[in-house]
């Protein structure tokens, strides 16, 4: 620092990253950094919003008032997460409307996991345990990412996520102590959600070309495979508390590596779902578009009301 004069903005930027300083909206940043963040944060926001749909499906059919209140609170949290993230993305110069457009016209991606159906009440348990569990695994390191507004949004989100996972685990635990039918229903849900949850960490490192750049920019702190392995290690142990098996015949403790080995992931399925051919892609997008279109008159009315109040206030 004493001998080198740092003048090039790119060097100032990299120097900040090296010193673990946050980049803030008005700071200079390289265009690819900005675009990477816009893509990642908006995809993340879309996932929170679309993620409300599979669970919302069970709000009216929750088995008790307590479970209904819990599920409502969880789904409402996910709406909040979407809003925090949209707001963070907007600080990078993209409008909210543009992001909605990208979601509604199918141009934007969201997590493939939300294109699977929720067939039984036990799915709500499996989603909480596995899907929110995988999300937390991804999200905790993001609290330390280099872009200030994104990191702050993630801190808020992570604080709220932990009950999501715990309530899911509790649902499965309750079912695991229930009738044989309830146990079978819960095992079936775990079987269906396990592999899609494993895919939530994204493609293997070898075919994830952006990972190195994202790690250099301190957007990512761990690779997809590192996080996936952590997830397997934790879930394999937690499954024994539930007394359920994970649907992977190759899942086995490896004393040499100190990790669980696991079987191959069906990346064909992942690519199919990402590219729009999952079981519920169409249903999810249709539901989002319908919600947006049906809300049009509400948005207009609110604007008209605001304009009227303004005129009134000016006249008074």
């Amino acid at each position: 620092m004493e001998t080198v004069e740092i003048t090039c903005p790119d060097q100032v930027f990299l120097d900040k990253l090296d010193r673990e300083l946050k980049i803030e909206p008005k700071d200079w940043m390289p265009e690819p950094y900005r675009q990477t963040l816009i893509r990642q944060i908006s995809q993340h926001a879309h996932s929170e919003i679309v993620g409300m749909l599979p669970e919302g499906n069970w709000i009216t059919r929750a088995p008790s008032l307590k479970r209904k209140a819990i599920l409502l609170a969880k789904v409402q949290d996910e709406a909040g997460h979407g809003l925090y993230l949209y707001a963070a993305a907007e600080t990078l110069g993209i409008s909210r409307e543009k992001m909605y457009q990208q979601l509604h016209n199918g141009k934007a991606k969201y997590s493939s996991i939300f294109n699977y159906p929720t067939l039984s009440w036990a799915d709500i348990g499996a989603i909480g345990w596995l899907v929110d569990g995988a999300a937390i695994m991804n999200q905790v390191p993001l609290c330390r990412n280099s872009y200030g507004p994104y990191a702050r949004a993630m801190v808020r989100i992570c604080k709220e996520e932990s009950f999501h996972q715990r309530q899911g685990f509790e649902i499965l635990l309750t079912l695991s102590r229930g009738t044989p039918q309830q146990r079978a229903m819960a095992q079936d849900a775990v079987n269906r959600w396990w592999w899609p949850s494993m895919m939530m960490f994204g493609p293997p490192d070898a075919s994830s070309p952006h990972t190195q750049q994202s790690m250099r920019w301190k957007i990512k702190r761990f690779t997809n495979d590192e996080l996936r392995q952590k997830f397997v290690d934790i879930c394999a142990e937690q499954a024994t508390i539930l007394g359920f098996s994970l649907p992977d015949p190759l899942l086995k403790w490896n004393a040499t590596t100190g990790h669980f080995d696991f079987g191959p992931i069906n990346w064909d399925e992942f690519n199919q779902v990402i590219n729009g051919n999952g079981p519920c892609n169409k249903e999810r997008l249709d539901a989002r578009r319908k919600a947006w279109d049906d809300g049009e008159w509400v948005r207009e009315a609110a604007e008209a009301h605001a304009a009227k109040q303004k005129t009134k206030a000016a006249a008074a």
């Binding site: 008005k26 605001a306 109040q309």
Partner: protein, 94 residues
Amino acid sequence: MHTDWPLWEVFIRSKQGLDHKHVGSLHAADAQMAIENARDVYTRRMEGVSIWVVQSSDIHASNPDDAESLYDPANDKAYRHPTFYDLPDELRHM
């Protein structure tokens, strides 16, 4: 054609006696709606006892490029801090 509602910055007093602190932003048609939405989005777990909302376009911010000229001059005025003064250890209550 519809365009986004204006953006609002949200400030929350987490408990009586503390300052309002910036927590995030949201879109709303007017101030009242901004406060109502802020309640739903930012105080679901008793995070606050009071909410301020300010339309983002009304906030004027310093330019990060000016940081050096704005804040550096204070760097060489260590005598503004109590630790600058070297006083005997036996001195009490000061």
